[in-house]
Amino acid sequence: MLIATTLAILVVMIMALVRAFLGPTIYDRILAVNTFGTKTVLLIAVIGFLFGRPDFLDIALVYALINFISVIGVLRYFEYNDEVAAHEYNEKAETQKES
């Protein structure tokens, strides 16, 4: 069961990476990176049990803290910066709708 869970987490991490590379807006990328970080915490915990070394859980805890702080920090930077973030994507959607 632990191996199946590890494989599922790895597949989902690959999906999140694909979304982070594809993502049309900056928010898609932030969402994908956030998901990737949460899944990394789970992966470290499950792999610790799989190898019989639950000491890995300390690393998972620290990684959860770092992930949350970094996502909130990046979001604070982009929150009031609408020229950078969504403008180009919205304009492209408008022109597609008109044509």
Binding site: M1, L2, A4, T5, A8, I9, V11, V12, M15, A16, V18, R19, T25, Y27, D28, I30, L31, A32, N34, T35, T38, K39, V41, L42, A45, V46, F49, P54, L57, D58, A60, L61, A64, L65, F68, V71, I72, L75, F78, E79, Y80, N81, D82, A85, A86, H87, Y89, N90, A93
Partner: protein
């Protein structure tokens, strides 16, 4: 007793894996930022809780259980907070949601 605990833990892990996978599929396939955030944000909390619950059942009493409880508590607090901050940031950044075309509404 041991067998029962192992079976319940395996069921929790399997269900958590399925939820994680559906969340990842939604993150990859949905057409719009807000729908993607819905898929990822909803499945994240329950899937993480189920997988950590399965690990807790495997761990037994001890310091490992305490660490797993701390991770679970922290993720239960931070994951909805991150989703909320993301939605608020996208709304302030004036990201337009993808709406249905007017022709579709008339034909309904």
């Amino acid at each position: 007793m041991d067998t029962v605990v192992n079976i319940v833990s395996g069921a929790c892990l399997l269900l958590g894996s399925f939820l994680i996978f559906s969340g990842g599929l939604g993150l990859l396939r949905f057409p719009d930022f807000y729908t993607r955030m819905h898929a990822a944000g909803i499945t994240e909390t329950l899937a993480t809780g189920l997988i950590l619950l399965g690990l807790m059942l495997l761990a037994g009493w001890g310091i490992v259980l305490a660490k797993l409880m701390m991770i679970l508590l922290f993720i239960l607090i931070t994951s909805p907070t991150a989703s909320h901050a993301l939605a608020k940031s996208a709304q302030h950044g004036k990201l337009a949601p993808q709406l249905a075309e007017p022709e579709d509404q008339r034909s309904r």
